[in-house]
């Protein structure tokens, strides 16, 4: 026992000194931070895009302008909400609540927009709050270049616009030049053509960039509402009333019979909790395979550097193996602990949108059985894969040989990664059930299904399966390890290895 602990201690200390360990510890939080930071920055730094509308029907341009402006006002309101949160007096934070649903945007525009809003919240802000900066407009409508006749035929106009659209020419905006992002051409029969096929598309959206679909969506929205408004008017329906009615949303309460009586309501926190296992599966996957790499490297180091023989004169193969398992498990748990800690602390202090729900969900996760399940899955999954990797380490003379094993192993390891979202969405489906009973995937699948309350029989059965598999794999690994550690030269054939496992016959 003492030797096992000494070996475990050495494994822990030496691995904790490696760069890989510290990169591992800081990588995940760093990726999260950068991910959040970069996507926000990117969203903010997106350039304004210029587009042209040639509305020969004269029916839609106003609606489009209105729709684009409305979206812009919504982004202004969102920016104002964030600005208010960031600059509120500490005692006034709670009073700042800026909703951004559609009716709220309408009300914001109707009550005087930005200036009125700023005047209203001024008393809640710190004295030294910086001035509010308007968000950039994402889409700006510009006029047709002067050399193009807006009354010409559709074919002529698109022909003349082509060099602008493909980037050969730039349009004049104010005192500078800008690339033309898109052009919308509405033929004289646009109103008719919007509703039925007239032999040719009467409304045409031209752009080389098909990835940005907000603009066609906004245009579509404007076209829809204008077309419908005309239909309402034609049939004598009050369009204003329709709009009001359309903004009414029916209430739908969502309930989960698995929850305690009286508390069946499904809240946002519940929904978050439901997808939390996905995070845990990812964590499980990352942590198990990071430490497996360490286990493999260390085993091969002892073998290829001929350390095994000295060790074996002092300790039994069993003690070496157990020491390694323990030490590396310690490394893995430290890493996982650091990741979980960072995520929990990070979310706890998160002040952005949804902070209240997040914090509720965190409490729910902390109170649920998810963390113990995670630890169970980590430990058993670790032991199962450790049996596999220790055997490979003991069979290979150097890391190069091990890499030829790693190819197929990597394929096996990718399965939980690729299936995890499907299992999360359908936790009692065929895929989930099948993978639950494949020992290599049981830890990941069980973790994934944990929040969906799988049948008790499956939980118990899968846990037993993991325990039995772990014992079997470790027992075989022990046999292989004892013989393989001292063996040099050609890699043994599979039949030989099977004989080692069955007979325990040495060399």
């Amino acid at each position: 026992m003492r030797n096992t602990l000494l070996i475990a201690l050495r494994e822990f200390v030496e691995n904790a000194k490696t760069k890989g360990f510290w990169i591992g510890i800081f990588m995940l939080p760093l990726i999260l931070l950068i991910g959040i930071g970069v996507s926000t920055k990117l969203a903010k730094s997106e350039p304004s895009r210029h587009f042209i509308v040639i509305d020969q029907s004269g029916a839609f341009v106003e609606a489009i302008d209105h729709s684009i402006e409305w979206e812009y006002q919504k982004s202004v309101l969102q920016a104002l909400g964030q600005y208010a949160q960031e600059n509120a007096r500490p005692d006034k934070t709670a009073e700042i609540n800026v909703p951004t649903y559609d009716a709220a945007v309408d009300a914001f525009i109707a009550t005087g927009g930005k200036d009125a809003f700023l005047a209203k919240i001024r008393p809640l802000l710190r004295d030294n709050a910086p001035a509010f900066k308007d968000p950039a407009r994402r889409f700006v409508r510009v006029d047709l270049p002067k050399d193009i006749n807006a009354g010409a035929s559709a074919a002529t106009i698109t022909g003349q616009l082509r060099p602008y659209l493909v980037g050969e020419k730039q349009i004049v905006v104010g005192s500078g030049h800008e690339p033309l992002f898109a052009a919308l051409l509405i033929k004289p029969d646009g109103v008719e053509g919007a509703m039925r096929w007239t032999g040719e598309e009467a409304i045409q959206y031209w752009s080389t960039n098909l990835a940005v679909n907000d603009l066609p969506q906004e245009i579509q929205k404007a076209l829809n509402s204008e077309t419908r408004r005309r239909l309402y008017v034609a049939r004598g329906v009050d369009a204003g009333q329709v709009r009001t009615i359309e903004q009414t949303w029916a209430r739908l309460g969502t309930f989960d019979p698995n929850k305690a009586a009286g508390q069946e309501t499904v809240s946002i926190a519940d929904r978050i909790k439901r997808s939390v296992p996905l995070g845990f599966v990812y964590l499980l996957w990352m942590s198990i395979f990071t430490v497996m790499q360490m286990l493999l490297n260390n085993t091969i180091e002892e073998k290829s550097n001929r350390i095994a023989e000295v060790l074996l004169s002092s300790v039994t193969p069993h003690e070496i193996m157990m020491g390694k398992l323990l030490g590396i498990a310690g490394i893995g748990l430290t890493m996982v602990g650091a990741w979980l800690g960072t995520v929990f602390i990070g979310l706890r202090f998160w002040q952005g949108p949804g902070a209240a729900e997040l914090s509720q969900a965190l409490d729910a996760v902390a109170a649920s059985g998810l963390i113990p399940t995670f630890l169970l899955c980590f430990l058993l999954g670790y032991l199962i894969y450790a049996g596999l990797f220790l055997s490979i380490g003991a069979l290979c003379n150097d890391i190069k040989e091990a890499q030829s094993f790693q190819g197929p192993l990597m394929l096996i390891m990718m399965v939980p990664f690729f299936t995890m979202t499907f299992i999360n969405r359908d936790p009692h489906g065929t895929l989930a059930t099948i993978l639950t009973w494949i020992p290599l995937y049981t830890p990941f699948t069980l973790m994934n299904r944990a929040a969906a309350n799988p049948p008790m029989l499956e939980i118990v059965g899968a846990t037993l399966l993991m325990i039995v598999t772990a014992l079997l794999f470790l027992w075989s690994a022990g046999r292989i390890f004892r013989i393989g550690m001292l063996r040099a030269g050609n890699r043994p054939k599979l039949a030989e290895v099977v004989q080692w496992i069955r007979g325990g016959k040495d060399a």
């Binding site: 000295v310 004169s313 300790v315």
Partner: protein, 315 residues
């Protein structure tokens, strides 16, 4: 306490059809320096691995310090394997301390002893250097220190001199003498006969898995016949009939100008060089040179191994 640190009784080891060690028996008394000699592939490393219970003998019995498995007395024995290797990223002092602590020393004592050992054998300034930054020879010295840091009663060093420069070979010889002086029994294998000749009280020689000699250095030399080298112008035909002489053969090319010839005379059994000299005088042979030197261990080794492999080929 048994008077022997190591006893092997009819030990054999077979790997499939190949017999690596064949019916070896031996006893190593306490407090001796034992040389373990044999050509490549003779079964030395296999024997040593069996001594440490790293692999099991196919048949026979092994007793180390009275125990049937070396693992039972592992804190009292030390081992330097032939294939040397250490954890590359660990420092020299930490490495020695780690192996000493595996042998039962407390971690604190192990750290302290590691430092003093490094100091004593000229590596004091490298205590905090990682193994990968040490030269091969220094690394090997560290590994020898790993094997002896816990002051074992019985140490086996497999090829401890290979790869060391003459200065460090000397340091290692000192270390082996130090160990013996403190009461340890040392068994070491080597290919360099001078080391065996200088260090050993006893020799153990194996070839093709069999023990072919077990005894003192002088005993080993006594197994091969004495020989005398003479130079003379006279005819030596008159010596031929003497039954103390096993063989007479010319040495080298006869010099063209001088008539002086060199001869090697191999003696038979107990015949002494003195009687040959007398014979020469009696037969009027005029000697330019009469050279009687002890056979070297090298000669004994070659003769013994040669005889064994010849025997092996006959079987």
């Amino acid at each position: 306490m048994t008077p022997y640190v190591l006893e092997l009784e009819n030990v054999s080891k077979r790997f499939g059809d190949f017999t690596a060690v064949n019916d070896v028996s031996l006893r190593i008394p306490r407090g001796s320096i034992y040389g373990f000699l044999g050509p490549n592939g003779a079964g030395k490393t296999t024997t040593i691995r069996m001594i440490f219970d790293i692999i099991k003998p196919t048949s026979g019995r092994i007793s180390v310090l009275g125990a049937s498995s070396a693992l039972a007395v592992r804190s009292r024995i030390g081992y330097l394997p032939e294939e040397k290797g250490l954890y590359k990223a660990m420092t020299a002092a930490a490495t020695i301390a780690y192996f000493a602590s595996l042998k039962g020393l407390s971690r604190k004592a192990a750290r302290r002893d590691a430092r003093s050992l490094l100091e004593r054998y000229g590596l004091g300034e490298f205590g905090d250097t990682r193994i990968q930054a040490l030269s091969k020879g220094m690394g090997q010295k560290v590994q020898v220190l790993c094997a002896v840091a816990h002051e074992p009663e019985f140490v086996v060093l497999d090829e401890p001199f290979s790869g060391l420069d003459p200065v460090n070979q000397q340091v290692l010889e000192t270390l082996i003498h130090d160990l013996a002086r403190h009461g340890s029994t040392v068994l070491f294998s080597t290919h360099v006969m001078q080391h065996a000749e200088r260090l050993c009280d006893h020799l153990l020689l194996i070839a093709q898995g069999r023990k072919i000699f077990d005894g003192t250095v002088a005993g080993a030399k006594a197994t091969i016949p004495q020989r005398v080298l003479i130079s003379t112008e006279s005819s030596i035909d008159s010596l031929a009939g003497f039954d103390g002489i096993a063989e007479i053969k010319p040495v080298g090319e006869p010099a063209t100008k001088s008539a002086t010839k060199d001869w090697e005379i191999r003696l038979r059994g107990q015949a002494s060089a003195q009687t040959i000299l007398e014979k020469c005088f009696q037969n009027g042979i005029v000697l330019r040179r009469f050279d009687h030197s002890e056979p070297s261990l090298h000669d004994a080794f070659v003769a013994l191994v040669g005889a064994e492999s010849a025997a092996g080929e006959r079987v």
